[in-house]
Symmetry: C2
Subunit: 355 residues, 2 copies
Amino acid sequence: MNDSLKNDVFLRALLRQPTPYTPVWMMRQAGRYLPEYRATRAKAGDFLTLCQTPDLACEVTLQPLERYPLDAAILFSDILTIPHAMGLGLKFETGEGPLIERPIRCATDVVSLAKPDPNQELRYVMDAVSLIRKELNGRVPLIGFAGSPWTVGTYCVEGGSSRDFARIKGMMYDDPKSLHTLLSTLTDITINYLNSQIAAGAQAIMIFDTWGNVLSPANYREFSLHYMSRIVDGLQREADGRIVPRIVFTKGAGPLIAEIAKVNCDAIGVDWTTDLSEARRMVSDSKALQGNLDPCVLYASPEKIREQVAKVLASYGYGNGHVFNLGHGIHPTINPEHAGAMIKAVHELSPAFHQ
Amino acid sequence: MNDSLKNDVFLRALLRQPTPYTPVWMMRQAGRYLPEYRATRAKAGDFLTLCQTPDLACEVTLQPLERYPLDAAILFSDILTIPHAMGLGLKFETGEGPLIERPIRCATDVVSLAKPDPNQELRYVMDAVSLIRKELNGRVPLIGFAGSPWTVGTYCVEGGSSRDFARIKGMMYDDPKSLHTLLSTLTDITINYLNSQIAAGAQAIMIFDTWGNVLSPANYREFSLHYMSRIVDGLQREADGRIVPRIVFTKGAGPLIAEIAKVNCDAIGVDWTTDLSEARRMVSDSKALQGNLDPCVLYASPEKIREQVAKVLASYGYGNGHVFNLGHGIHPTINPEHAGAMIKAVHELSPAFHQ
């Protein structure tokens, strides 16, 4: 594991240390917008097999790095590997999104939940992490990740994607104790899962809270942020003599960014509905910020993309502690050349903000 | 039209005048959760026919008022009557949501848009308004409404509901001029449409901006709020010697509520992701606030519903200027008795805040 890291700009930016430019990666950078990804996915047959086959997961993780001078790699996996390992039955039907075959619907379901051993039921993830680290050979750091307990919980209870989160919110308002038991169990599993990823070679950790924004501020604190905070506090701080930075990302968090700043994380993900200048003011420079180009900007021409990249860089402003990213995952219909134009613009325009 | 209004608590609350209690109505109160609505809808055959038949639109508008002591009625209609009247071809396919048959896809489409006459192509809406006013006979005020130009524009450009708004945002970033032309046209049409509703008998006006929250703050100001402001400024201020209050509602507006407060409206709709106490602070009591119970609270038991109603009332706090509502439309699977429990709780618990 003691490969020397050739590009640590991403890790240093997360720790608000000086960097010569703003590092950049893209959420879902190993994804359907890349023809080479679609080819590997076709070879795998289905999405879950792709996640569960370390060779193929490694292959797609590295694909965007062959194309673009990205400053980080992110493990190719899914936030629903945990409910899968818990035996809830996960399927990805084409065009349907994820389906959980045995959703959690009552208090009895909650108390009888299995706690998988990450080195057994989720061994394939750890094997992928080790393999990717080996293949990366120190080019850039590798990000490990998990979903937030609230977000993973929504799938466990709703049985799949949801528009209104009626079932889990029904539980939240009628039987909050059972929901807390579920979220606490997911938290314990996630801490083990992420620490295993760190042991296998993950050099930074990101927690994705896609659905925290459907909660009222008080419920967000109680049912989402609290558990993310517990996870962060339970993570290994160092590996191979290096700090493992933690990024917390609640999509659409808006003013709740000020609350997230109280968590013991190093960086906060910000989507495009909050200006980075405003987010930076909210965290008083106590955390690094990651974001926040609207993914739809990549539908525009390369010239317009460059303009919008410049706006995001200017919105963060001078100084360290900014990791450039999209505000959400790259869309499957984006032209890969447009993603390249964004990355190029970040690398060309950002040094001016680091003098 | 000169019926004397027996219950004007809603109108007075919107103007921040003293009221003995907090008035309450529900977004989508005439909707699928009511068995009597489903019966009328079955009689009509399809959703669009229901909107276009004044007798039936009147019938469903009044149904929730027969069941509950609501403080306002809202015209039964749809925000997509405007693209329909513009000849873009509107269909509601079961389970598919709305479909626009001839979406707006290029600059040429935008310049050739027809401006319908609200008293011709949208006559059925005005007939419904007049009929509802007659049948209401002064029981409570009638709310007229329209979608925001940005929100209606998303359907016109995307051709229906969207997850990522790729087409309209592509236009926004690549060809903002064409998008402004579209939004400006929709604004002019909407001003005429709403003034016709006022002339026909609408006693308050609400603008629904369901999708403003997918924009960055700067784009929200430029492409959504600006046009809602133009609409508000173009509306008749009085009818029958009474002020016609205007409510602007952007779902998930969060900190942008402070910007909405600069619009010449009387009230701002707030969803449950912002505390009313925080919203009230943002508007410095310059506007009334409408909201903001999470619609999912109605999945809980009547006792829990009462607790959550109490929290919303306490969050707004003492004084006038609060209209109780859900933070979004009532879900189709809600038990009608639970809606009744919410309304009862508002009427019983709110007088304490108006002493």
